[in-house]
Amino acid sequence: MTEIFVVKAAEFGEGDRRIVRTGEKEIGVFHHEGAYYAYANQCVHSGGPACEGVMIHKVLDVIGADRTYQGQVFSDEMHFVCPWHGYEYELKTGVCAGDRSLRLKKYEVVRRGDDIFVIA
């Protein structure tokens, strides 16, 4: 395993992302609400750049106590979306929203002083 330098923490603001290439491998590194996440930039669908799309909160149907439909809302849970066809992934886990048996490979991110590394 290798620690790969990604970016200086000061240059990696809230909501920022970096794509790290090492050999054949690409890893998407995210900074969201003070935490860092990293996943393989390889969509489980057709191999698209899963980490390079929009970040958007999960959408929920609102069903009332009487089980009637009351519209839709964004939940607090953040997703990122593969830009090729729209597969959505949970930012905190890398699990595919449409099929929880599928997930992106997760990588550990470490901060040493002002440097952010991903372990690949």
Binding site: M1, T2, E3, I4, F5, V6, V7, D16, R17, R18, I19, V20, R21, T22, G23, Q42, S46, G47, G48, P49, E52, G53, V54, I56, V81, P83, W84, H85, G86, E88, D115, F117, I119
Partner: protein, 409 residues
């Protein structure tokens, strides 16, 4: 553990620039790994956004009165105009980023922007020839004014032939037929059948004139005579009475893209059009494959009990269908590949299936949907990815693509 500083490459994401080649870099990687440079790949269904070239297209409208109306209405964007839009959030509310980023794509040189950007995605995917279709015009068959369908389709076809097909040999097309006017449809085949890059003609499926109407017979006869296929390109009409029951685009897409082709196919077969035009080649585009699997069984099931309903038929409906061509996208991918294998068998995929990407639309397919199938041998893969279409369209089977990063042939 090694600490490695700096790394090979770290890049930022930018949502204010776009390149077809960069956005498909992983497709090119797949193309290189699978050695697509070694064989022909033909995409029978891809798109551009002709609306971005309306200023050029409208100049080709033959009637000065309509030309003025089109140009005037195009100049007041956002207000009601000569052309209706279609309800449908195909880009999943902005999640398909290329739909809104593509305006940033930079194009240099003198070639038309659509030629440059089309060749970029073709090379990235490993495509040698692409059959290019319009996008908003897929809904033109439901325009209430027949003369508008005729005027715009003639203008678009002339523009396409002169500005795109004449200039770029790797781009071909099956030209739009203004099917609501059977006489203009016939005239279109007459006028454009021998133009460079015209490999057939296309009917957009959402429309309300049945394909067995006697008025179309002379067009079918002419197409049969010149040996070029007729194709039916699926799309939806959310205002269709049945489809208005659906409240989400996923539903309209799932049903709508099959619905009109199921209707046209049923009329086509039951009325014995294949018996009347045995050499006419027919292709069904963008309905996926499961509809054909289902419809073959539905029609065959009733046929022997109700031969009096379709006395022109000399064989089972499925036997005629099995002689037609089917474009692959959006290819349904059941978890159990034996289900897909059965569908391939049913439609005689080895000779009748033709791969399509539908790029750049939201649910495009890569050649890998065929190339990675476990139950096909290499020859069958190559037939479906390019060989079948090359025969149908009369294309040279020598690969001409230029996959980024691949060693040249």
């Amino acid at each position: 553990m090694n600490i490695q500083t700096p790394v090979n490459e770290v890049r930022e994401l930018h949502f204010d620039r776009f390149s077809s080649s960069d956005s498909l870099a992983k497709a090119a990687e797949q193309a290189r790994k699978r050695n697509y440079q070694d064989f022909l790949i033909v995409d029978v269904d891809s798109h551009h956004y002709e609306s971005e070239s309306y200023a050029e297209v409208f100049k080709y409208i033959e009637s000065p009165v309509l030309r003025r109306s089109f140009m005037e209405s195009a100049s007041r964007g956002g207000r009601s105009s000569m052309l209706g839009g279609s309800v449908g959030y195909q880009d999943i509310s902005g999640r398909i980023t290329r739909h809104w980023l593509r305006k940033h794509e930079k194009v240099e040189g003198t070639s038309h922007r659509d030629i440059v950007t089309t060749k970029r995605w073709m090379d990235a995917m490993g495509v040698d020839y692409a059959c290019l279709f319009p996008t908003p015009m897929l809904f033109l068959g439901t325009h209430p004014q027949v003369e508008i369908e005729v005027a715009l389709s003639r203008a678009y076809n002339r523009w396409l032939c002169e500005q795109i097909l004449a200039e770029e040999p790797r781009i071909v097309s099956m030209l739009y037929l203004p099917f609501n006017d059977p006489e203009a449809t016939y005239q279109m085949v007459k006028d454009f059948g021998d133009k460079k890059g015209v490999v057939g003609f296309m009917v957009t499926a959402p429309r309300y004139k049945p394909v067995h109407d006697n008025a179309y017979m002379k067009t079918y006869a002419l197409l049969e005579e010149i040996g070029k296929p007729i194709s039916f390109h699926a799309a939806y009409n959310w205002n269709d009475q049945s489809l208005t029951l659906l409240n989400r685009f996923i539903s309209v897409h799932a049903l709508g893209f099959m619905w009109f082709n199921m209707v046209h196919m049923t009329n086509w077969v039951v009325n014995g059009i294949p018996e009347r035009f045995p050499k006419l080649k027919v292709m069904w585009i963008e309905s996926g494959l499961t509809w054909a699997y289902s419809l073959m069984q539905r029609l065959d099931h009733s046929y022997l009990m109700r031969t009096s309903d379709c006395p022109s038929l000399k064989r089972k409906p499925s036997e005629y269908m099995r002689e037609m061509y089917f474009s692959s996208q959006p290819m349904e991918m059941p978890e159990d590949p034996s289900i897909l294998e059965a569908t391939f068998k049913m439609i005689n995929a080895e000779t009748q299936l033709v791969w399509s990407s539908d790029y750049p639309h939201w649910d495009f397919d890569l050649p890998g949907v065929i190339y990675d199938l476990p139950f096909l041998n290499e020859q069958s893969k190559r037939n479906i990815l390019g060989g079948n279409a090359a025969k149908l369209f009369g294309l040279d089977p020598t690969p001409v693509k230029n996959i980024p990063g691949a060693s040249p042939k």
